[in-house]
């Protein structure tokens, strides 16, 4: 089961140079608050979905028992190096993969020395779990996946937790708006890239603070159009998280901090299961339980009906 979920930003500044601005310092403190909560919780596992780790071949699950490296961010290399040693839950990673396969997802575990863990994951684990008291498992973000596939990926994570009997905290590592400043910006000058990005971030945070996770998930496409640089086909982390946590608004939210890091929206937010839903709305999007693959909508000839979708697609 999931004890609690968090949204964490992944930029390296709060780890490598918190002293350079009060914004980075506040984010650093928010990470540390989350770290303290996690360490005090009954959780046995940190389950991560990182938008900083793109994949192409299905879904990759990093599950190397112990991994050591010195990481340098490809963009902010001047801020310094990040040496790390992390411990992963290999057994849970394998179980997660099996549950993905059972839901018709293409998935594999990754267990190679020197595998390049992404900056977001490295920063988060360094700040919230510095002593490796909890083991982690990290999931990639497939660049082509859309809502159905990502939702099913979240459900598979829930299946794996249920089978394992473990208690976990879930982390989605992602910026809200993700547009960086294009030129040199000093930490004192750092601000959200545009007013439009700022307004969308605030709207998302308002929903999250009210515990409206499924509402946020349903807004993801709109958010992607309005506030994201289109590096991948959609904004997916809340689909994964909502799939994992039951697709509802029954949460209590807390915004620990919200600041800009080099123009991006960096928010630290907590979500805890609650007895009452913040909003109880009707949702009309499909709720797939298995991934049925891509549908060919271009090659259907006149008079030929497309292949029916699997039964489970319409559950």
């Amino acid at each position: 089961m999931i004890n609690k979920a968090y949204l964490l930003p992944g930029m390296p500044h709060p780890l490598l140079c918190p002293e350079k601005s009060s914004a980075y310092q506040k984010l650093r403190q928010a990470y540390e608050r989350v770290g303290a909560e996690i360490q005090d919780s009954q959780a046995e596992l940190v389950l991560i979905y990182s938008t900083f780790w793109p994949s192409v071949i299905g879904h990759q699950i990093f599950a190397r028992p112990e991994t050591t490296w010195t990481h340098v961010d490809e963009e902010f290399h001047a801020l310094g190096s990040i040496p790390y040693t992390f411990q992963m839950d290999e057994e849970f990673g394998e179980l997660y993969k099996q549950q993905c396969l059972a839901r018709n997802l293409h998935a594999r575990t990754v267990n190679y020395a020197g595998f390049p863990l992404d900056t977001g994951t490295v920063v988060a684990l360094k700040l919230i779990n510095p002593d490796n008291r909890l083991k982690a498992v990290v999931t990639s973000s497939n660049v082509y996946a859309d809502r159905a596939e990502t939702l099913v990926l979240g459900k598979a994570a829930g299946d794996a937790l249920e089978h394992s009997g473990k208690k976990a905290v879930a982390l989605v590592i992602s910026a809200l708006s993700n547009r960086l400043h294009q030129g040199r910006v000093t930490p004192e000058e750092d601000r959200i890239h545009s007013l439009k990005d700022e307004e969308w971030n605030r709207k998302f945070l308002e929903f999250l603070e009210e515990g409206r996770l499924e509402d946020v998930a349903q807004l993801s496409r709109q958010f992607h159009r309005e506030a994201r640089v289109h590096k991948v086909n959609n904004f997916k982390p809340f689909w994964w998280l909502s799939g994992l946590m039951g697709q509802s608004n029954r949460f209590q939210g807390e915004v620990f901090e919200y600041q800009s890091v080099y123009g991006t929206g960096a928010a630290v937010v907590g979500l805890e299961p609650a007895a009452v839903a913040a909003r109880d709305l009707e949702f009309d999007e499909a709720d797939p339980d298995v991934y049925a693959g891509e549908r060919n909508v271009l090659a259907v000839e006149a008079g030929m009906e497309p292949e029916p979708e699997p039964e489970a697609q319409n559950v």
Binding site: W53, P54, S55, V56, I57, G58, Q60, T70, V72, E74, E75, H77, A78, G80, S81, H106, R108, V110, Y112, A113, G114, F115, P116, D118, N142, Y144, R179, L180, H181, Q182, G183, R184, V229, H230, K231, Y262
Partner: protein, 315 residues
Amino acid sequence: MKQGEIVLGALAPHPPHLVYAENPPQNEPKAECGWEVLRWGYERLRKSLAQRKVDVLIVHSPHWRTMTGTHFLGVEHFKGLSVDPVFPNLFRFHYDLKVDVELSRQIFTEAQGLGLEVQMMTNPDFRIDYGTIISCHLSRPEWDIPIVAISSHGLARYFNMEVMQAVMLKLGQATKVAVEKSGKRAALLASNSLSHRHFVVEPEVPEDMSFEHIQNHSQYLWDMKVLDLMKRGQTQELLEIMPDFTEQAVAETDGGSLTWLLSALDFPTYPAEVHAYGSVIGTGNAIVEWNPHNRQVEWNPHNRQVEWRAQGGAQ
């Protein structure tokens, strides 16, 4: 000092599959075979490169993606392990390479003079991106020529293709001027595929060629159109259709490598030599060479046949 010159330009894509299939000692995974047509194309490029007595390889890689301007490697020696985050099962490569920092700085200075946002990367812990490594290895597996590595400024996604191309035109010219001032003989490598829609599943044996084909026919048609323009020496037209090609073929030209190369070569009107074309996990890849000493050669569809006959080939 004698004026330097660009003695060769090449489209040199970086599928890790090609290194994997070649089984160099630096790469941990081993293959039985695979993607031979493309690898034979690289063999022809190597022969051509060897004849030009090159002092430096300058590579522009879409897999060192930076959002805050163009970055250049600024450390003389790198040694480490590169693991492909997307295909870690195929590419875990131990690299040991030298950087021509002097020329890096010269290009940096010229680009800065043209108003571009630029940075030198001086962190010795930095891990070299696999695009740079693969293009360089396949072009010159001896690793006996120093390199200049240039990041891909992510402007196409941040703004649009036109903005990206405008900047790459300047970067190409900055590269050309810096090479000329350096007195060196440089080969330029644009490290990108053409069409770039992948399959999202992989056969159990990755080198099983019975699974390999282009992802879709429209991609293939676009790739052939682009190669035809290259062979005809119509690179200005290629520049003009690059935005449409990139969008409709999901081409990796969004990284700017090809535009940078064509600009540095002053938009060749002479024919390019297509050494090979083939697909890798559905993407379209071509190894194409421009020889600036062919400036006076005009495109003629029968030229090659005439040459072949003159050399005693069958009638």
